[in-house]
């Protein structure tokens, strides 16, 4: 099955925009609309006085993270529960390479060219990928659920390490300042990256998203991408067809981790601060929830998922807590008046994962292929067989696959 959707439509390969099938054309229209809104947002933000550009910058970072995790979970079907660890590794790498407070910089171990933002970003990209390989190589040959628990442990260990290795990482002090991209000139206009005006950061992030989007969609249709899908759908069949399982999975793991390294370096530089608490387990789950909510395997769905989840985390909890507490005072309800919506993130992310699995396993915007895989009830014969086999007593219950 893998690869059938990957083959380009004959018309699209040769002809221009107007010969596209209707659904493709609609998709392009939506993409153009979304891109216009994203490009115009900083001006709206300033005109309307929202002052939320920082939150949108964070959303953009999480969009890249979700796209990276989507390679691992969505394309290759490997459950990575410690994705924030690679995010942390990327952030700490650029911090340690460029911050004047870093031990390595103070001891003149870092060559001067590497203290440049762009060079350090490339290094953190590579370092995150290397850690992906180091973690993946011993565990990817085991069963998939073992990988889940090892990554879970890794996600727990890495922040613990950064917190306690305070001789190197500054411990609870964190690392700051961190190098910013040097100012450059476009047609005489200075493009600078400051803290007070984060618009250029936002556009930089948008650029990274577009490049990532291009890379990810091309990867999905490549030989490697088709191997990922084959492995995801049936490992044994894939390996019989000559796909090297460990190498294929390792590529997914390393590429996924490298996206996280990118995102980590930009995030830490834009907010000028690295601290272990930014990379707690809840962050990994937030990214996973974005991927699951949006639709595993569908990049555009995943982007929407990340926007939904992170705007809940960064904007809604902030904006709605005050009115909610006011309402609590009006109603004389102590519980509502003292309730902080930030406490709800655990339940919200958890519910997003569980409900999606129960009700819409393909996500809100599933790829057609993935939807077919994740909803096996369409596979009537198999369900009917296992059903009659397992249910000895409860014959009047709805069948396992049936959902009301």
């Amino acid at each position: 099955m893998a690869g059938t959707t990957a083959t380009p439509h004959p018309a699209t390969a040769t002809a221009g925009n107007f010969d596209l099938p209707a659904d493709r054309r609609r998709a392009r229209l939506w993409f153009a609309v979304a891109l216009t809104i994203a490009l115009a947002y900083p001006f709206l933000d300033r005109a309307l006085g929202f002052n939320r550009i920082g939150s949108f910058l964070a959303i953009a970072v999480f969009v890249v993270l979700a796209m990276g995790l989507n390679i691992v979970v969505g394309y290759a079907g490997l459950l990575d529960l410690g994705y924030a660890a690679f995010f942390a590794i990327g952030a700490y790498t650029i911090g340690l390479l460029t911050s004047p407070s870093s031990v390595f910089v103070q001891k003149h171990w870092v060559p001067l060219w590497m203290q440049n933002f762009w060079a350090a970003m490339a290094v953190s990209w590579a370092v995150a990928a290397i850690f992906g390989v180091l973690l993946g190589a011993p565990t990817l040959r085991l069963r998939g659920d073992y990988l889940a628990i090892v990554t879970l442990g890794f996600g727990e260990i890495v922040p613990t390490f950064f917190l306690n290795a305070d001789a190197i990482t500054g411990g609870t002090m964190g690392i700051n300042p961190i190098a910013k991209p040097p100012t450059f000139y476009v047609f005489g206009h200075a493009v600078s990256f400051g803290q007070t005006d984060q618009r250029n950061w936002y556009y930089l992030m948008l650029g990274v998203i577009l490049v990532s989007l291009f890379l990810v969609t091309r990867l999905y249709d490549s030989r490697l991408g088709r191997a990922w899908q084959a492995v995801r759908e049936d490992e044994i069949a894939a390996s019989s067809m000559g796909v090297n399982l460990v190498r294929t999975k390792l590529w997914a793991f390393a590429l996924g981790a490298s996206f996280s390294g990118f995102a980590g370096s930009i995030y830490s530089s834009a907010f000028q601060y690295v601290h272990p608490s930014q990379f707690e387990f809840v962050v990994s789950i937030m990214i996973l929830a974005s991927v699951i909510l949006g639709g595993i395997g569908n990049v555009y769905g995943v982007i929407i998922g990340a926007i939904l989840i992170v705007s809940f985390d960064r904007i809604l909890t902030d904006v709605l807590t005050d009115p909610l507490q006011q309402l609590g005072h009006l109603l004389h309800s102590e519980t509502i008046a003292s309730h902080n919506l930030a406490n709800d993130r655990y339940v919200v992310f958890g519910l997003a994962l569980v409900l999606m699995m129960l009700l819409r396993p393909g996500g809100l915007f599933p790829s057609a292929q993935r939807r077919a895989e994740m909803t096996p009830e369409s596979d009537d014969v198999r369900v009917a067989e296992t059903q009659t086999l397992y249910d000895v007593r409860t014959e009047n219950e709805p069948a396992l696959g049936e959902r009301a």
Binding site: D145, A148, L152, E156, T160, V282, F349, G350, M357, E377
Partner: protein, 324 residues
């Protein structure tokens, strides 16, 4: 550098006690994995919820210095039973409401649901007792906590401490382990569980109600986790919504170390992990000054990765690659 035998024995005692509690939680992982091949990520949180329930039950009583000892024993047993039943029922409900619907779904689906459940339960834990570490209600008086049995009862002149709490842990864990091994090894339901673990479809053909058997495995795991939770809460003298996460990870490592799916393995693994844990918390520091309790998770994670790389089947289990 001289080997400090006193220190070693002290942390060995602590390790064994701690390990017994881990073993109870690890059994929950192994029971479920053995039958449905699912890592129940929510198990650590089921453990945590048991502790919070015991916390609330005990909090209903006012216990002072003049409360008679039999009242304290009665309250403790009541809270223990309540925690066990609560965790057991919770684990059973999780299976009934979520996992059972996903039994035919692809492998990733129940795992993702499990991690989601773990998060929901942590959120409920925050609603329940807030996000800070709390001290459990004072059930065991401080003067009892600090008794050293080796001095008081056995008249030994030693600095090694054996506290009543250590004995209580052993006194609660051993009967539970004996009961579990009787249940799985000698009862009809236990036989059904073993059959289902071996081959689910063949078991179903033999007339075993597979769904009921799986539900019982979840129930049993929850009961043990509830007991461990109540005792752990008093052993460490803290309760928080986070207590399940790390404990669950350690217990899972124990289950893998012993060979997942193998009940004896879970107990052996639990004891070993408990010993590693305590040695890392205290003993190693005498030799490596910068080492301390903050590095224990790193040590346990190291054990997990080493086992997976060199002996993926664990000490007592056999390695089964993915079934076709």
């Amino acid at each position: 550098m001289e080997f400090n035998a006193n220190l070693f024995v002290q942390f060995l005692i602590n390790g064994v006690t701690n390990g017994m509690l881990i073993a109870l939680v690890a059994l929950g992982y192994t029971l479920v994995y053995g039958i449905v091949e699912l890592i129940n990520f929510a198990h650590g949180e089921v453990f945590m919820m048991g502790a919070l329930f015991a916390f609330t039950i005990i909090g209903m009583f006012t216990i002072g210095p003049d409360t008679p000892w039999f009242a304290i024993v009665a309250i403790s047993l009541l809270a223990l039973a309540a925690a066990m039943l609560f965790s057991g029922a919770l684990n059973w409900a999780i299976d009934r409401v979520v996992y059972r619907r996903l039994r035919n779904a692809p492998r990733l689906a129940p795992l993702i649901a499990a991690i989601g459940l773990s998060f929901i339960l942590q959120g409920i834990g925050i609603y329940w007792i807030g996000s800070n570490n709390l001290r459990p209600p004072n059930l065991i008086a401080n003067n009892i906590r600090s008794i050293n049995l080796l001095n008081e009862w056995f008249g030994l002149d030693t600095r090694i401490r054996l506290r009543p709490l250590d004995l209580i842990v052993v006194g609660i864990t051993i009967p539970l382990l004996v009961w579990l091994s009787w249940f799985v090894g000698r009862t009809k339901t236990g036989k059904a569980m073993r059959a289902t673990a071996q081959d689910r479809e063949a078991a179903a053909l033999m007339g075993i109600d597979v769904n009921r058997t799986i539900a019982i495995a979840f129930l049993l795991g929850g009961l043990l986790a509830g007991a461990a939770a109540m005792v752990t809460m008093y052993y460490t003298n803290t309760a928080s919504f986070r207590m399940g996460f790390r404990y669950g990870l350690f217990a899972f490592t124990a289950a893998v170390l012993g060979g997942i799916g193998n009940l004896t393995g879970a107990v052996v693994g639990g004891l070993l992990i408990g010993i590693v844990w305590q040695m890392s918390d205290g003993f190693v520091q005498a030799y490596i000054p910068w080492w301390g309790a903050q590095w224990t998770p790193v040590a346990i994670f190291g054990v997990l990765v080493l086992v997976m790389v060199f002996k993926p089947g664990g000490l007592l289990g056999e390695f089964t690659p993915d079934k076709v």
